[in-house]
Symmetry: C2
Subunit: 369 residues, 2 copies
């Protein structure tokens, strides 16, 4: 292995910590020059969120707001922002983590910040994300994560007490939990061929028992419904850093399709953060059009499903021939189906049609194998 | 280590497989003797579910039903039951797993079983649990699990491809996912002092970063709300097989208290299964009475909380002086509080009051340290 450059050996929190110190330096310089302190923050207001056709994801436009001492509200906001940046930097230095809820409660100690409700500290955290252009996990303010990973990947954790140990994502057959440490770990090596993301925990467990990691070189990720931010960061990094193609397996319904789309294109709410989406990821199935092609038992779309499809139809992220055709099929046929429906085609107990027929066919169809 | 007896080296699915074969033998003998085949099944009807004061959990009474060829409905039911037992045995032999939903779809292939809806196959699975007196995970019909584990425990997985490898629950700092393989793994050794169950993922991650495993010898389990069956099996086994005391940490509200109680006493719905409850487990906190004792910010109980407390008050599992006092406190003061509220008492960023003051005090109070 070639010697890594020093910058590449820095952990994501260390990089975020440097950006926070730079922000502090800027304020310090302003104060030293007897200028009123101020920072420029990319605007997160709805009129500044635009869909980038080339990137196929939401990004912020060019508007920014200036937060400074021109009025009392601005001064209070700047003080709150700098306090959040201070907390983040202390957390990074001590390798500790906190949550948005904890941060709000912690802020109650700082009477001078005049914080009345959690929406205020939450908003300051999002502003700090927008300024640094990194997700808050990176500066140790973590969400409640979900998700599990399993497969041929050797990695090194970077948090204190775990650095330098090389561990394998194959060692635990129920998988390893995806949290901030895994999302930020260094990838050492992998002979996996692609990443297979599945929406359901029991399907994930079944695919491990069916040895998809050995038979196809699949690195399996389970999201437990909509993928958490840590899972989306991990998926993106596996794609960008290791060059692994990403395929997503969900139920054939609007909710499953949208799980795939958020992994591919991100969400409007996180337009201010890069590094969450994986534009080259592909929805592998269970496609609407596969319901009849594979002749599996289907269910009738209910009103909530139908309303959801009408929303998705107007969503710029679905402005793509393939996805439009899927939405139209759902609406015309008024059918949906679950991954479990493939079990109606099992002929031998313990040998699933899903893992032994459907998945191999679809992986071939999309050029994965 | 002393040589283990052969019976102890059998995995839980292997034991369940033997019980299934015994059931099959019984039917075979009946048929050989030209008797009409029949099985006796412990009744799961509500009038046969009783609260055992000594065990402090729900168990089945002495009623049983006989399912046999005395009428058409009985004959169909027996055929369905034996088909489910056959599927379970095939799954155990091939080390594969399935879910209730998959099982229903698979049953659609067997036209002679005349299965119309999933409630029928679900009920047969519960009857098989009652006959064998083991949870369905044990015969490889798995639920959608949740939960994560971390701490000083060396174990050996027993499923194919993983046998014999000794792995450590300390190797992944976001924890290891709790599924059927972990719930059934053999425990090799542990120098943990107790099990600490926490309801929230982010708190679990924070306690790992605060090194509770090193400082107190805590083996940490996160449940993600109500503990899944796999998590409850794992907690019980850690208590029974390794003799580790179990402490449960939740929010101070009726929902958190009930998470603790289900781990301690189980539920009426699983009265037909032994080995899910941990009667000696203790609710460590966050107690109702700790809200004022520790002077943390509280929230007002809403109507849904209050209604839930009125239900719990009538529940025989709460017929205990300590729990009654907690319920009364909640109802009288109409207050609740989250674990995150302890962050209002943090004085140094990165050093939480929860891990450094509250938990050590409570562990001492309950005799854990």
């Amino acid at each position: 292995m070639t010697q890594k450059k020093r910058s590449e050996r820095e952990t994501l929190p260390q990089k975020a910590g440097k950006l926070i110190v730079e922000l502090g330096d800027k304020i310090y310089t302003q104060l030293s020059n007897l200028e009123p302190p101020a920072v420029s923050i990319p605007s997160r207001s709805i009129d500044n969120i635009v869909f980038d056709e080339r990137l196929q994801q939401y990004v912020l436009g060019h508007k920014s707001i200036r937060r400074g001492f021109s009025n009392v509200r601005g001064a209070k906001g700047l003080a709150q922002l700098l306090w959040v940046a201070y907390v983040a930097n202390e957390l990074i230095k001590s390798d500790q983590v906190t949550t948005l809820r904890d941060l709000y409660y912690t802020s109650l100690n700082e009477k001078m910040l005049e914080i009345k409700e959690q929406a205020e500290t939450d908003s300051q955290v999002e502003d700090l994300e927008a300024i640094l252009s990194v997700p808050r996990e990176t500066f140790n303010i973590i969400p409640h994560d979900r998700g599990t990973a399993f497969g041929r990947l050797v990695l090194e954790y970077t948090i204190k007490g775990f650095q330098g140990n090389r561990v394998d994502l194959m060692s635990h057959p129920d998988g390893v939990s995806i949290g901030p440490a895994l999302a930020q770990a260094r990838f050492v090596s992998s002979d996996s061929n692609f990443v297979l993301v599945v929406e359901k925990h029991a399907v994930f467990i079944q695919l491990i028992r069916e040895k998809l990691h050995e038979r196809f070189g699949a690195l399996l990720i389970e999201t437990g419904g909509q993928a958490s931010r840590a899972a989306r960061i991990l998926i993106r990094r596996l794609n960008k850093e290791l060059g692994l193609p990403v395929y997503i397996l969900t139920d054939a319904d609007p909710w499953g399709m949208h799980i795939a789309l958020v992994i591919i294109s991100g969400s409007a709410k996180s337009a201010h953060i890069k590094d969450l989406a994986t534009p080259s990821a592909k929805w592998l199935g269970f496609w609407a059009t596969d319901i009849e092609k594979y002749k599996v038992p289907s269910l009738v779309l209910n009103d909530v499903d139908y309303k959801r499809l009408e929303e998705l139809k107007k969503d710029p992220r679905y402005n793509d021939k393939f996805f439009r055709a899927q939405i139209e099929w759902f609406m015309r046929k008024r059918k949906k189906a679950e991954l479990e429906a493939f079990s109606s085609k099992n002929t031998t107990i313990g040998v699933t049609y899903l893992a032994n027929t459907y998945l191999p066919e679809k992986l071939r169809e999309l050029g994965a194998t």
